[in-house]
């Protein structure tokens, strides 16, 4: 799973009632509220702001409203999946069409065509099970797997991915 420390900028608007000694604290709190926990197709999942550049830049008063705008530079901890990346995850649900793997906040769909070639869907147990004699490998809720991302769709506030378990060194984690 690819985590990054990324340098970003964000414009924060502040109401005039906050123009007092605690203004810097308020500006930073606004930044945290606006960014932490957000998802973007561009930078991925923003987990936390880890550093805000000091000193804060001077604010600019917006004509008409009296609000001030601050353009802040900050470093954030983000999780951003990439096409072609191999990562580990935990199976969150299983259907006959494939499995959904949770990789932190990201859900990766692995279609039945992309599960390991020795596995078949077992109707009675609602899981994929290995057909090889003596193999206990199963894909069921809670199984830890290693997959490669083979397709991704990113839009403004959402990321969706499809993956494969069908290749050497991918599949159920031992």
């Amino acid at each position: 799973m690819a985590f990054f420390i990324l340098e970003l900028t964000k414009s924060v608007t502040v109401h005039p009632r906050h123009f007092h000694a605690k203004l810097p604290d308020h500006v930073i709190n606004r930044l945290l509220t606006l960014t932490e926990g957000t998802t973007s197709g561009l930078y991925g999942y923003l987990l936390a702001v880890v550093e805000v550049e000091r000193p804060l830049p001077p604010g600019r008063i917006l004509p008409g409203t009296g609000h001030a705008i601050f353009r802040l530079r900050y470093k954030a901890l983000v999780y951003r999946p990439f096409l072609g990346e191999v990562l580990d995850g935990v199976i969150a649900s299983v259907t006959r069409h494939g499995v959904f793997v949770a990789v932190g906040p990201l859900s990766v769909f692995v279609s039945a065509r992309n599960v390991p070639s020795d596995m078949e869907f077992d109707d009675s147990e609602q899981c994929f099970a290995s057909v090889v004699q003596g193999s206990e490998d199963r894909l069921e809720v809670g199984t830890m797997v290693r997959l490669r991302i083979v397709g991704m769709r990113r839009d403004a506030t959402e990321i969706a991915a499809v993956g494969t378990l069908r290749a050497d060194y991918l599949g159920v984690l031992g």
């Binding site: 799973m1 690819a2 985590f3 096409l83 191999v86 499809v162």
Partner: protein, 136 residues
Amino acid sequence: MDLGVDQEENAENLKFGELFGDNEHCQPLLICEVAELLRQKRAELPAELQSSLGPIFVKSEAYVERFNQFRSAEVAKVVRVRLERHPELHPFERAQLANLLPETPAEAKAIIPSLKGKLDDDVLGQLLRDLAALVE
């Protein structure tokens, strides 16, 4: 289900686009380093705000706790030093090696294809054994 292929980005040949390809302003982290950052973040919050952390934070935290192989901040530093000894490795490759801990050079090159031709199998094998020895 076809989600379309993003031409600009591909981890297999280390193409990360404009924002993430810029090594000066973007640094990949190892899972063990993320674990430490998330612990700090939680420790900074007063008790009554612990539950205010959103689902993205909580899910990532659970993931990192589950897949973190190097338990302490000290070991995480040693892992980082070992990886930095190989300047020919891309920062993303370093993170992948420590996060996925392949057992053999062949496995490493299969799951991180950009490693092909970069390191001698002996050197890579030694690095993998060094990392494996640090797992707790």
